[in-house]
Assembly symmetry: C2
């Protein structure tokens, strides 16, 4: 080991920073660790951080190479640097008159939360504590700091269980009959210091060291040891960090803002984080330490006051923070302390901000030339745009959270509780009340009641339940699957955590968080700023994906246009059938036993549908409109089975001769006939159109006649007819033949020519698996990822709430697959369908119309697999636009960095591999298909 | 065209056959067509077919080359051959005294049902008809033949609509007030002949030709023309048959069995087609024509009688048919006619036979050295074995079919109708009645009632509905989804096609056909012959797939062993919980609000489950047993929601103070909590074990304790623990960890060491898509193709009956995908999972336990994709064994025929392509996975 010692003794183990100069710099992360390099960089940049020094990572490696002993020469270098530190700070380590205290922190190349806790106030002992008390004029502060240091040192360095100190503290408080630590007096704390020292002696078998140099060296060694504690090893393993990097040790002077009226402490932002306005923003306290701000005993002053009290310090602070903003090209959130007129910056980091502020800051920084548009786009999170488009809970309001459900549709609302759609309509329209509709779950029957309510609360159902989807489409606030509320049997009240709420009581909802709030809470309406439009305009220049909206009626379509939608990706025709004037015809059609009666009901519906489509075409002038043919099972249009059963049973018991009984029984009988155990997998989608071709005929005729009218008026609409739930190309062909025939009939009748497309939803695994066959027939695919998720994962979206919650808790699922697309499963099928579809029909149009179309992470996926567009609720259109822009930008940036890529060998082959893989996959698709066909059963 | 004529005149256009010698032979299919070559071959082989001649296919091509004119010289050759024919038959064409009649048939190289109808009795005219009448002594026969010939000639040759003749016939019958053609007298028929000739004149614009040579030439030309009629062109297109092959024309003498007592006609088999016994078998009528046998006016004699009546003819017939059997190496079904003591063979073909006969014949023919074992295996259809294993409807019974449902479980049963499981138990056990349980659909609650019933009839549900699956498991007859029966509201009767059946009325079921039969129909029990065992033994030597059974209780397991099962592929543990002594504990567990109460209920269930498993292990000595952990949603163990709602509502109305009301409401409340809109996609499978780990713990403990007991007793069982409904490897890991911990605990407690495996069902698309990840954790996969079909196709098996029926009718589906695996969709996923699974774990054990495991076509698929075993209901085990053998045999034979393969270029690359494709697929799997991962959303 002699040679090691010798070599080591010549090495530079310690790098100093302070007084505006550092021996290291920002590039030396390998040697000084991330934290040490950062401190050196800040110091060199003229930021007045408290002085200190860093012991290198190499030293740590030598410590391990040398059987856990520090190399010879280190102690000397530490002593030398300590002297420099004392000089820089004008204090002395261990000197009771003018005490220098230090912090000790670990710091490796990569941030490792698994490593050592920070030790603060190192240098305190029975003597120096009195010096601090005198300097701050605050006995209580000094002894509180001391008792904290002892327990920190005991637990971190001597490995005594923290709990033992905590218990002694609790016992003391119990003895005094007080609850808060802040209620302890200076004498109480002195007593605790005695107790803590006793614990340390008993547990560690030796006294708490009074020698400050011993404290320092022991702490240094504890940092080295922490590199190989269980937590750190586990963390490195999890994050693939090499074990031979070692950790540095940072020793830095402590500063105090409570050393008189020329001292103080504060926090601030370089711009207003709430509005984004470019003003210096913050608050501070004179003669105070950080803890005082947190304890909330004194009210801090606005930062402007500092300019009056200490103009030089203010000017210096303002200058430094502006420089930091320029340096980091972002709003800075900083902490500072003034010790006897001298400013120290303790921390600076990118400031958190509201979405409104984020946009304004990004736009203004671009104009100031501080950042590029690329950077501006990266600065705003798509999901935060929700805040801008919906009302929010007044941030100043006092809240009582009663329960938490799923944040199914953003926004905030307050209203009186109603329990039925009928009551909602009556209260809202006749009595002009604000109401919140509370239901176990909603169904299409409830549509009108949902429409007049301020918000919707359901006890069951997930992020893509009926209530959630409909509410999001309208931009209406909804909390779904709030399992804690128990609706009473009579349906006139609900209970939540022991409290009962009756019809007419006020409640409020926060759709952004899923919170159910007690009483009437103030909400604030959104305002769209000029910067918003400008920012979105920039975003649009980046994206490759088109963004369309899911909209069923002109009102929603217009809203979607306002938000920048470039067409309708999904019009659900069934939503139109629930309107009051149509439902009777729909029911007549379903109840018809003769074909002629069914045709007659459809004839009644035809002109209504035609005018629906005409309205959509009109509001979407020049943009494509995709219309999906009838999708839900027919029983959705009839009363609910169990309700009808109960009604009939009650009626039979009470009044068996009631004239309505016969009719109700007839309906019940049809409802029973149509009843399905798993309606999601039942008689719906194109299966309806195949069983009842006359429904397809009527709907296609309505589309074609509306298109003909538009063309006659000069609006060259190109309707896209979408056949739902296709799993077999023959289903598609069946419906396509009907559609083509009817469109041709209408063209002839009206003497108008127009283009149209016929395509399908890809929403069953089998459709994705056989997408090549389907693409030979279909002109476009729209991925219905809601249903595709249901079938691929075997999760009913209406029932999955509880299971998904349990899975998220158990870390089986990272994200709700109904919110963010499941890439490994559903995504694999989408990728397959994209490849097979394009192989069979290279110009096929590909889009997505599931709820994922408005989820940023899913939009990213859609961009990556190369869809043509995404379609989402009108209120999510801006989110999708921004997410699409960011996906395209990220791709552009990644393509620009070939050098960086070379440095990281792991990342290098990725893009090429993707391309190559996709190519190879395409090649073997045919072979696989052949192979599978070969393996097909023959008639045995 | 001169040259064509010249060339043609030298050509041989006509080939004669007759008198034991033919100019052509069996290899001349190109020139003589399939039929012509066959007739030549039979003639050369000494089979006395009526003489005739064949006009070659070349002639047909010359006809077309020559603007639809026959080549010069043809007419002469026909005349020459006609003279030979007259000589051979001892009759003269057009001679009223001794009339030769002929048939004219088309016949190309490949059989083409799309071509021309046969013309019979050609040569009849107003004069010869009298000759036939005299020769047969049967005016009626002669004129009936004549009127048939006129209409046939008119429609086929003169292209008059057949309907016009039919209408005239109908008018005649109406006029006479008779219903059947056989009621027409000779005079009526003479009158019809007049009418038919008139029609012919009016429609064709010319008289029906009385000249027999004209009849012949016109018919010949009609055959040539028919080569290019629409039907034939369409058929060729569909079957990829070249248009330039041309058709031959076969002209053959007609013979008559009604020419006196030295004439006759009959049919026969070379062995008994019902039992397989090697005896000459058949029946005949003296002085009769084929029609007489069909009309059923006279009772035919057994063939033995012919030996007395015409010993020489009998000997000749016996000799010929035995020779034919040897020649074709199969039982022959033949038709013959004796004309004035001369025997003619009209037809011979492979005879249809019962399954019992098929096996006996195959086994005996192997022993006789007539066929190889390979051939024997190919001679028996797996699905026909069902006949051997279940009772059948007595073939002699008179049947009234009331309705047709799905043939859900084979067998036959008669019993009195009961409508509830409770009534079934009471009637069967207390009153000792045979009952048939009739339900809308069955649920696990009905199990005990199903068990005591002779058969089960449901109005709803498909081939894999609860009733179907359970019944097949027990080998019990079941007709499911019989939509025509309407069960009355009071549940005490049902209506079917206007008839009403009450509780206690007799009905019968044919599970093999799905027929519901009126009254008590006689059934016959099956008997398993020695040949059966021998045959199955041979089959076992071929197959590569192992065959296991799905069995839940020792009784079923023993049955499965009897049928040759090599283990249990699926034990559904939930079936055990429905037993009377267990359900209360199960319900207590589900209703428990405290964890402790749940644990207590589970403790009660533990010993019962342990003894269940012990029983299975005992009966499966030495064979593997796969036990699936609890799968169905918990609400299946509670009363039905709507029934409970009705009960509570009625009770509340009638007696609100009833003491049971509180309890019922409590259960209802839990049922409501557990209610799911789509239980198939709900809280079931491993999701239960993840939410309630204590259930998994109890079940695994029961398995491990039972295994420990077995090992202590010397039975080295290796239990396979199967985690159901996994879609995500983390689900599997969660349950695997619990299982491993519990097994280790038990091993320690009992001090016994034993091996076990933990694997999973692949029954969700996502499981197949991520099979590589799952295989890293799981030791085996069992494909649950029922659920995989449900999710991949989006069909609920309980609801799909109607849709699938509609799809089969519209030709969208060829086969019910719940019966035969959907290769293009579900099969693609299975293939993917097999490849990915083996890639990640080369020795992974792969099986199938869905209902497809007993379907021959699906077994073929399982063999092709290389599974290790199939598992099916005990009663389908022999079917699966034979199907597996045939799949392996087919592969072996295909591999042996490299020359044959070379001749058919289309088939050549198939096997190689499969191998290559599978290999390439494996290679790119990794690349694809990488690509998909790359495209994964990042946290935005």
């Amino acid at each position: 080991m002699g040679s090691t010692k010798k070599a080591a003794s010549k090495k530079k183990f310690v790098y100093f920073f302070g007084n505006g100069k550092a021996e290291g710099n920002g590039t030396m992360r390998d040697l000084l660790g991330g934290k040490g390099a950062g401190l050196a960089e800040m110091t060199n940049a003229g930021v007045p951080v408290p002085a200190g020094f860093t012991i290198t990572t190499e030293t740590c490696n030598l410590y391990y190479a040398n059987k856990r002993k520090v190399p010879v020469g280190l102690d000397d270098q530490i002593k030398t640097n300590l002297v420099k530190l004392e000089k820089a700070m004008g204090k002395k380590f261990g000197d009771p008159k003018n005490t220098l205290l230090v912090s000790v922190r670990s710091g490796s190349k990569f941030s490792m939360p698994g490593m050592m806790d920070t030790i603060l106030n190192l240098g305190l002992n029975d003597v120096t504590v009195q010096g601090i008390a005198a300097a701050t004029g605050n006995d209580r502060f000094a002894y509180d700091s001391y008792r904290r240091f002892i327990s920190m040192f005991g637990s971190v360095v001597l490995e005594i269980e923290k709990d033992i100190y905590e218990k002694a503290l609790s016992a003391k408080k119990r003895e005094l009959g007080i609850k808060l630590d802040t209620d302890l007096s200076a004498d109480d704390l002195k007593d605790l210091v005695m107790k803590f020292k006793k614990i340390t002696r008993e547990e560690a078998g030796k006294d708490f060291p009074q020698d400050t140099m011993t404290q320092l060296n022991m702490s240094r060694d504890a940092v080295f040891r922490s590199w190989n504690n269980d937590r750190a090893i586990y963390y490195r393993k999890m994050h693939d960090i090499a074990a031979n990097l070692g950790t540095a040790v940072n020793i830095q002077a402590m500063v105090f803002g409570n050393m008189g009226n020329d001292s103080g402490t504060g926090v601030g932002f370089t711009r207003n984080p709430s509005t984004g306005e470019n003003v210096f923003y913050g608050e501070y306290l004179t003669n105070a330490q950080g803890e005082d701000v947190v304890a909330g005993v004194r009210t801090p002053n606005p930062i402007a006051k500092l300019e009056e009290e200490m103009p030089a310090v203010f000017k210096q602070l303002h200058g430094i923070t502006k420089r930091l903003e320029k340096h980091y090209k972002d709003v800075q959130d900083f902490e500072f302390t003034i010790e006897k007129g001298r400013l120290y910056m303790l921390q600076t980091r990118a400031g958190k901000r509201t979405a409104q502020a984020a946009i304004r800051i990004a736009v203004e920084m671009v104009k100031e030339g501080l950042i590029s548009k690329d950077m501006a786009i990266q600065r705003v999170l798509p999901k935060d745009l929700d805040q801008l488009l919906h009302p929010i809970i007044d941030p100043k309001a006092d809240l009582t959270v009663l329960a938490k459900g799923l944040p199914a549709s953003p926004g905030a609302a307050a209203g009186k509780i109603v329990f039925t759609a009928g009551d909602a309509v009556r209260w809202a329209e006749e009595l002009d009340e604000d109401v919140i509709l509370v239901r176990e779950e909603t169904c299409p029957d409830d549509i009108h009641g949902m429409e007049v309510s301020k918000g919707i609360l359901t006890a069951r159902g997930g992020m893509t339940s009926h209530a959630a989807v409909v509410a999001r489409g309208w931009g209406k606030c909804c909390v779904a699957g709030c399992e804690d509320i128990k609706i009473a049997e009579d349906g006139k009240s609900f209970e939540v955590n022991g409290k009962t709420f009756k019809e007419g009581d006020w409640i409020s909802l926060n759709g952004a968080t899923g919170e159910l709030l007690e009483g009437k809470v103030q909400t604030m309406d959104p305002e769209l700023s000029g910067e918003f439009a400008e920012f979105m305009n920039w975003a649009d220049q980046y994206r490759k994906l088109k963004v369309r909206a899911n909209a069923d009626i002109p009102r929603d379509a217009n809203k979607a246009r306002e938000f920048g939608a470039e067409g309708i990706g999904l019009c659900r025709t069934e939503h139109m059938f629930f309107a009051e004037d149509r439902l009777p015809h729909m029911r007549a059609m379903i109840l018809a036993t003769e074909e002629e009666a069914r045709h007659e009901a459809l004839r009644q519906l035809l002109p209504m549908q035609r005018s629906d489509f005409k309205g959509l075409f009109d509001s979407m002038q020049g943009f494509p409109v995709t219309i999906r043919l009838l999708d839900p099972p027919l029983h959705e249009f009839l009363p609910k089975r169990e309700e009808l059963m109960l009604e009939v049973a009650k009626l039979e018991a009470a009044n068996p001769d009631a004239p309505e009984l016969e009719e109700k029984k007839k309906i019940l009988s049809r409802v029973q006939e149509l009843h399905e155990l798993n309606p999601m997998l039942g008689h719906r989608g194109c299966r309806l159109g195949i069983s009842y071709p006359e429904i397809t005929e009527m709907q296609v005729r309505a589309i074609a006649e509306a298109a003909a009218e538009c063309h006659a008026e000069g609006n060259k609409v190109v309707p896209e007819i979408m056949i739902p739930l296709v799993g077999n190309v023959l289903e598609f062909k069946d419906q396509k033949e009907i559609a083509e025939r009817v469109v041709n009939e209408v063209k002839k009748e009206k003497g108008v020519k127009f283009d149209y497309q016929i395509g399908t939803m890809i929403e069953l695994p089998r459709a994705a698996l056989t997408a090549d066959e389907i693409a030979e027939q279909a002109q476009f695919f729209s991925f219905g990822t809601n249903d595709l998720t249901q079938t691929t994962l075997g999760f009913s979206r209406d029932d999955a709430g509880k299971v998904i919650a349990c899975y998220e808790e158990k870390k089986i699922l990272k994200k709700d697959p109904f919110q963010t697309i499941d890439v490994a499963g559903v995504g694999q099928l989408v990728q397959m369908a994209v490849d097979k579809g394009r192989m069979a029909r290279p110009n096929i149009k590909l889009g997505i119309c599931g709820e994922h179309g408005g989820d940023p992470a899913s939009v990213y996926f859609c961009h990556k697999v190369g869809l043509n567009y995404v379609s989402c609720s009108p209120y999510r259109v801006p989110i999708a636009r921004l997410a699409a822009a960011r996906a395209a930008l990220e791709e552009k940036l990644a393509a620009k960095k070939p050098k960086a890529a070379k440095k990281k060998p792991a990342a290098k082959p990725a893009k090429k591999a993707v391309k190559k893989a996709v190519k190879t996959v395409k090649k073997v698709k045919k072979a696989v298909k052949k192979a599978v066909k070969k393996a097909a059963p023959k008639g045995k």
